[in-house]
Amino acid sequence: MVSFVVRRIGWSLVVLLVASGVMFVLVRATTDPLSSVRAASATGGDSDAVASGRLVAAEQRRLGLDRPLVAQYGHWLGAFVRGDWGQSIVSHRSVGREIRAKLWNTVQLIVWGIAFSLAMSVIVGVASASRQYSALDHGLSGLSFVALSMPSFWFALMSIELAVFVPKRALHLDHPLLYSVGLHSATGGGAFDYLRHLVLPVLTLSLPLVASWSRYLRSSMLDVLSAPYIRTARAKGVRRSRVLRHHALQNALIPFTTVSAIGIGGLFGGLIITETIFSWPGMGQLLYNALLTGDTNVLLPWLVVAASFVLACNLVADVMHVVLDPRVRL
């Protein structure tokens, strides 16, 4: 077991290394770290063309951009591993510190989102599997179809309209029931205020997860429920609810852990959208703002952190699968 985990971690590091190389090339190919220097020197007019050319070249040499790409990557990687993630072009603060400051807010969103999605998909999945082909089952699968076909940003906009503005207008409230901006009110307000900020972003983030996970859990429950040992348990007089919870759900959850861990890994795309709409000061908003302001130094560390998160989720999925399912032999 230990050697399996160690081997898996080692392999993940190799994948991360290759991924960082690919992302390095991508960022280099699509962004120009000297654009601000070029723009500044271009305003000088024709007479300064030689001088500005010299300035760009000097800056290129200072940043090591005249060296081969592989050498640049090696240099970047060495600094990155040592914890030197570069400096933001816009705020002139260390990128590592910027990311750490935002990461906590994003982690809050992710943790609440996953907790809510897991709870909801277990409830929905078990409810539809235990009454297969009932009106409830059809209704829930229809809803999940709609949720999977809906752009999550549109859901967010509509939820702001229908859950924030409409009740506020209809009930003539001073403050809306749910907030759509940030994590806390400026005046503070404790746990309840935090909760009112949390509801809509968490819903937006969870919607596609609940829809796909509950479908998956439903089919995995149905697989288990048709197994002979379920019939045996019922035949020897175990109550239906206990069979569902104890015999069926526990086994149906094993393949579900893999699927859900991979789904969590895909969460970063949803985070960019959710945080941008709800002005949530997290990683997603950091990337969005960095791209708008041309803060190219943020991009690469951001991508590496996001990729590490996905890899960590896949790692957890693999290990959980081995731990939970004794049939998997290493």
């Binding site: 994948v15 991360l16 290759v18 991924a19 690919v22 992302m23 991508l26 960022v27 190919a29 699509t30 962004t31 179809f145 709609v146 999977l148 076909s149 809906m150 752009p151 999550s152 940003f153 549109w154 906009l157 509509m158 702001i160 309209e161 924030v164 503005f165 890994g265 970063f268 795309g269 960019i272 959208i273 941008t276 709409i277 990337l287 969005y288 791209l291 708008l292 991009l299 951001w302 991508l303 996001a306 990729a307 996905v310 890899l311 896949n314």
Partner: protein, 302 residues
């Protein structure tokens, strides 16, 4: 040496009756049994016609010169004259939804075609040859799984510009791996079957077996996955456009229309947000229904 045609009876028969078993209904019949699939297909035909014939159907020009007369029409709620209302500049939203459909549907279809073609090629090679080639190609798909797609799309659009070609190319490059995995699994499964052995025994070359024996047998999975890829691409493009990293204006897809009108939420103009979003929802829902119906119709077990 000439390649002898493989005896037709050696091929696995799709939807053909054998022996005393009752005749299997035709593909069309099996599809038609899927009510939601039929509704989805009908909805897609209507949406497609609306986009295709937009210049004929649309009651107003999509990007009129902003004369005083046009501006006077601004901010009108939906009415019989302006079915979906007008935006801040007096442009008719119904017209713009029709024209936006051209962008969204074109991108969806092109990305589905491109990523299916690329994914099929890679999956076929990996599945047929196995070994080192397979390992290498599958590790590339692993990489695509961990690189955050939306972020890469945003960075690429920022660097390469918001032309239709760039968006289609990057979306396809980020989504082919799903189909590659499916095709690879199919090819690996079928490689060991008798009809492949027969083709090989009769002297067919590898590419010939792949193209004429194996590929026709993956049509089912390909169709299903291509349909689902259309939906995925439309959603991806709309998210990208919504964040402001889509097509360069005034070209407008449904996503960029929503991006422009997100400030309307909570105001009198909230209707600007309803219709482009509903158009995306309906299209993707219809595509997913079609995909599901195709899966059931192709699946010999159903």
């Amino acid at each position: 040496m000439t390649v002898a045609p493989v005896d037709a009876s050696l091929r696995p028969q799709l939807g053909r009756a054998t022996g005393s078993l009752p005749a299997r209904p035709s593909f069309g019949r099996r599809y038609a049994r899927h009510r939601l699939g039929v509704i989805g297909a009908a909805a897609l035909v209507i949406l497609g016609l609306g986009a295709l014939l937009a210049p004929l159907i649309a009651p107003f020009p999509p990007n009129p010169t902003l004369t005083a007369k046009v501006l006077a029409q601004a901010r009108q709620s939906p009415s019989w004259c302006h079915l979906f209302g007008t935006d801040e500049l007096g442009r008719d939203v119904f017209t713009r939804v029709l024209y936006g459909g051209r962008m969204s549907l074109t991108i969806g279809l092109c990305v589905a075609l491109a990523s299916t073609a690329l994914g099929t090629a890679v999956g076929a090679v990996a599945g047929w040859f196995g070994g080192v080639v397979d390992q290498l190609l599958m590790r590339i798909t692993d990489l695509l799984m961990i690189i955050p797609g939306l972020a890469v799309l945003m960075i690429a659009q920022k660097g390469l510009g918001g032309s239709m070609t760039v968006i289609i190319a990057v979306l396809s490059l980020l989504s082919w791996h799903i189909i590659a995995r499916v095709v690879r699994a199919e090819f690996r499964r079928m490689k060991a079957l008798e009809f492949v052995e027969a083709a090989r025994a009769s002297g067919a070359r590898a590419w010939r077996i792949m193209a004429f024996e194996l590929l026709p047998n993956t049509v089912g999975v390909l169709a299903v996955n291509a349909a689902l890829a259309v939906g995925g691409a439309i959603l991806g493009e709309s998210a990208l456009s919504f964040l402001g990293f889509g097509l360069t204006p005034p070209a407008a897809s449904w996503g960029s229309m929503l991006s422009q009108s997100k400030g309307a939420v909570g105001t009198r103009l909230a209707y600007l947000v309803y219709f482009p979003g509903l158009a995306i929802l309906l299209t993707v829902l219809a595509v997913n229904f079609v995909g599901n119906a195709l899966r059931d119709a192709f699946d010999p077990a159903s």
